[in-house]
Symmetry: C2
Subunit: 211 residues, 2 copies
DNA sequence: ACGTTACTAGAACGATCGTTCTAGACTCTC
DNA sequence: GAGAGTCTAGAACGATCGTTCTAGTAACGT
């Protein structure tokens, strides 16, 4: 049996995945972790916020390591990307569409509210983007292109997880993975910076955003 | 001054964008809407759940209409996509990175918990994907390809919003929009179905997913 | 004028929230 | 074996949660 601190960390991560930050109570945490309130506040004196921060960074680095492992086993960065998406799809199906990763959920809940948690999620996302960008750059892509591509891939991954969970269909992840692979392949072949036009759509956006 | 029901709806949508479903209390709602508990339960007898369902469908269709407007004003579907991403980026900056849309946030919180809310979010996402797919198909893409492409675009949009809010940098949305535009262009040019290989990465995923 | 319906107002309910606090049970060191 | 950490145990706190309920006002058809 793992020590109390990691039990609390694991249980919190799992609960965050299912119900998010505000939807998870510390009573649920202590029960799931077979711990008591005293222990929780002993290891995390800052309470729920500190606990959340620890969960974010812990599972953030865990997923980064997972990506590195998969990327090490892949022939090309494009393979690594589609492998990661496919692996996520498999995991989602095996876990009956319970969320794989708590970070996107918590990030959305706290981005406008809790500055320290926002910063913690940003650090995690940044680490992922850097990790992917390093692979692209190592394969010959210019640094700026690598970074932009990695940003898009991480965004698509996070969004695809939401869609897949909501639709209870992991195919969304596989499809998005294939498209990301195609995008990576295309960019590798022609690493031209594309400065798209910013047309007059922001006014329409603005007038509708509050409805 | 709008009628009470729409005031409640608007206020709830705004609060959901900032704090999510569980992070928003009905007291906050009534205060922001200048309404009372009695009015809230008069219009939404089902309580918080029914209110959330109404908010999801309302702002879901609002954003779909917004997409149609932008797409109508764009020369090609690829233009429509990058216009929409750029417009979202502008709006996010103007609103100081408060979330643009409550649906992704709520969907994440309730996907594993509340079946009716999950179904409501799925309907919204499905509507968006269909709307985008229709544009792609009208431009000549086979139906299956159009649907897969639309799924990817919606996923990337949702994920890019999360990343942009978290990093407080709308550039993420613009970059992702450019990449989505490139992807759409590429698929339009060569609408070949790409069946990516599912390599042996799910085992690694599985062993790490709980950490 | 009256009854009916639509809506507002907010006190009150039990449950649960995050947090604090005191007390006890284990280690170790000296 | 005394004392100082380290960790566990859980009762108790005030605040706030979603919901219910009763009472009241406004508007309208007849």
């Amino acid at each position: 049996m793992p020590d109390t601190r990691t039990r609390i960390l694991t249980a919190t991560g799992e609960l965050f995945r299912r119900h998010g930050f505000h939807g998870t109570s510390l009573k649920q945490v202590t029960q799931a972790a077979a711990a008591t309130t005293g222990s929780l506040y002993h290891f995390f004196p800052g309470g729920k916020d500190e606990l959340a921060r620890a969960v974010l960074t812990t599972s953030g680095t865990a997923y980064q390591e997972l990506f590195e492992i998969i990327a090490d086993g892949a022939a090309t960065p494009a393979d690594a990307i589609s492998d990661f998406f496919d692996g996520a799809a498999d995991t989602l199906e095996e876990h009956d569409f319970v969320d794989i990763c708590p970070i996107g959920t918590v990030a959305r809940e706290v981005a406008s509210t809790d500055e320290t948690l926002r910063a913690a999620s940003q650090a995690v996302f940044g680490g992922w983007i850097d990790a992917a960008a390093r692979r692209f750059a190592a394969a010959g892509l210019p640094a700026a292109d690598a970074n932009e591509l990695a940003t898009t891939v991480v965004a698509a991954l996070d969004g695809a997880i939401v869609l897949a969970r909501t639709a209870r269909d992991a195919g969304v992840l596989r499809v998005t993975g294939r498209n990301m692979r195609a995008l990576v392949d295309a960019r590798m072949r022609a690493p031209v910076r594309n400065t798209g036009a910013n047309r007059a759509s922001s006014a329409a956006h603005r007038s509708r955003a509050t409805s």
